[in-house]
């Protein structure tokens, strides 16, 4: 049994690891390091209710302060870890302090991908990842203002929905030929494109920002298709894993911290969980099953597995991935990981604003994308986990209840 555990990264995964370690009986010294000034918080509402101003900041916090006291966890905020000395089992902090560890968990998450174009550093060019980003962005949500959103993924579209509801003039630039290309099938992309247009969003597909112009602050976005006037810009073009501390310490890193199916890194005393990991996923059927996921589900479930592994009781990671996005009154819920080449089985009519798209591989459901369709999502998720062969005719017939398919 190890006597001290240090966790670098106080997000969803780090906090889950604290809870799981104590629940699983760890009685040693426990330290959680976070480099932000805020107590650990949930990020999903940032681009939704928190941006809209419907959600007080304290509601974002994952746990009350008393949780960390009760868990006898030393939560250290504003604390940046710089380097891990694996031989000495020491974490070196920015303030020159060194913390010793028996086992180390890296839950360092991801950060926004910066846009490498001229004018990217002009005031008025925003990103969205943390509380401070949203606090800077929100004052711009004033009816009549013009916002150009670069990137039609989850973040860009969620912000577009909030901005459109606040009466802004919204333009979304998406470099690909459809929105949310990495996350959903063409049918779902098409539906969301129409919904945004219906809400007055000016959607430009196959359009990228070439550069930003302005004097004291950003005033326009230049694209191949022309120039767009902007009072402010939001860039949402994905994230990159925070794997530098792992790489600099000599751990294997490849688009994330490489871990095995038990969340172990290439060092037997170091583990990793959440957005920062490149991990083998049972539900990802290519690239040798290795994938990096950006999700609450993966953060929570991997952290639970990491806690067990650190306590010497490793358990194979095999959890169905799930995701969600809120835009307007639409709830998009996704389970599983689709791949090109999967058989597509739509269920229901998108015009009813309630439908689903199933992906099948060898007769089994590999993924489901459900729009305002919880039965399809929840039963689909169960069928993915069970790996059962399903009747595709029944699946595609909305008259046949999902329950009878399960």
């Amino acid at each position: 049994m190890t006597d001290s555990i240090v966790i670098i990264g106080a997000g969803q995964a780090g906090v889950q690891a604290v809870a799981s370690l104590r629940a699983e009986g760890f009685t040693g010294k426990l330290t959680l390091l976070g480099d932000e000034p805020f107590p650990p918080y949930q990020r999903p509402p940032l681009s939704k209710a928190y941006l809209a101003g419907d959600f007080a900041r304290e509601r974002l916090f994952l746990k009350p302060g008393a949780f960390f006291a009760e868990a006898d966890c030393n939560l250290r905020l504003n604390t940046k870890a710089l380097h891990v000395d694996r031989d000495a089992h020491l974490v070196h902090l920015e303030n020159h302090e060194a913390l010793s560890y028996g086992k180390l968990l890296l839950t360092t998450g991801a950060r926004v991908r910066l846009i490498p174009v001229a004018g990217h550093d002009l005031p008025g060019v925003h990103y969205l990842r943390g509380i401070e980003d949203v606090d800077l962005l929100r004052p711009n949500l004033v009816a009549g203002k013009r916002v150009v959103i670069v990137g039609g993924g989850y973040i860009g579209l969620e912000v577009a929905a909030v901005a459109a509801k606040h009466g802004l003039e919204v333009t979304v630039l998406e470099a690909a030929s459809r929105v949310m290309e990495r996350a959903v099938s063409p049918l779902v992309s098409k539906f969301y494109e129409q919904e945004h247009v219906r809400h007055g969003v000016h959607l430009m597909l196959g359009a990228a920002a070439k550069h930003f112009e302005g004097h004291a602050r950003v005033e326009r976005v230049i694209t191949e298709q022309g120039s767009l006037e902007a009072d402010f810009v939001l860039v949402g073009i994905g994230v990159v894993p925070n794997d530098e501390i792992a790489g600099a310490s000599g751990l294997t890193v490849a688009n994330g911290i490489v871990v095995d199916e038990f969340t172990r890194t290439s060092d037997p005393d170091i583990f990793a969980a959440g957005d920062c990991t490149n991990h083998p996923n049972f539900y990802y059927a290519r690239d040798n099953g290795r994938v990096r996921l950006e999700s609450v589900q993966n953060a929570i479930d991997q952290a639970k597995h990491a806690a067990l592994a650190m306590l010497g009781r490793p358990k194979t990671y095999r959890e169905v991935p799930w995701f969600w996005s809120d835009q307007y009154d639409l709830k998009l819920q996704i389970a599983g990981l689709a791949l090109p080449g999967d058989q597509i089985v739509p269920r229901g009519d998108p015009a009813s604003r309630k439908f689903a798209v199933f992906h099948l591989r060898a007769g089994k459901i590999s993924a489901v994308e459900a729009v305002n369709a919880a039965p399809e999502y929840i039963i689909g998720r169960k069928l993915i986990a069970e790996g059962k062969t399903v009747d595709t005719d029944a699946l595609g017939d909305p008259e046949i209840p999902m329950k009878s398919i399960a």
Binding site: P44, F61, L62, P64, W324, A374, I378
Partner: protein
């Protein structure tokens, strides 16, 4: 502030004050009431905040939406008084509400 009593599966009671506008789930999580995981943080995406609402309070709480109804299909030991606590908004009329947590959320 409305007072809500959470009763754990083992009978342990937690009487706490929860601000109006918050959800019953948040009241539990912020007060360290065990037995409510709420992995998704209240997005009605995970079905891990299942509770049993005391029958005396059933009429005072708006009925389940279709979404909640479906998500509950995924929960264990579902009963007529089952609810997802992230879908119950706290309001002054719910002062005194009693909910019980199930044996497990998974």
């Amino acid at each position: 502030m409305p007072k809500i009593t959470y009763i754990e599966h083992n009978g342990k009671e937690h009487a706490v004050e929860v601000p109006a506008g918050w959800t019953v789930m948040e009241g539990a999580v912020k007060n360290r009431v065990p037995g409510i995981d709420a992995d998704c943080g209240g997005a009605c995406a995970c079905a891990t905040c299942h509770v049993y609402v005391d029958p005396a309070w059933k009429e005072k709480i708006p009925a389940r939406t279709e979404m909640e109804e479906s998500m509950l299909d995924f929960a264990l030991d579902v009963k007529p008084e089952s609810r997802l606590s992230c879908q119950i908004k706290v309001k002054p009329e719910l002062n005194g509400l009693i909910v019980r947590t199930p044996k497990s959320q998974h």
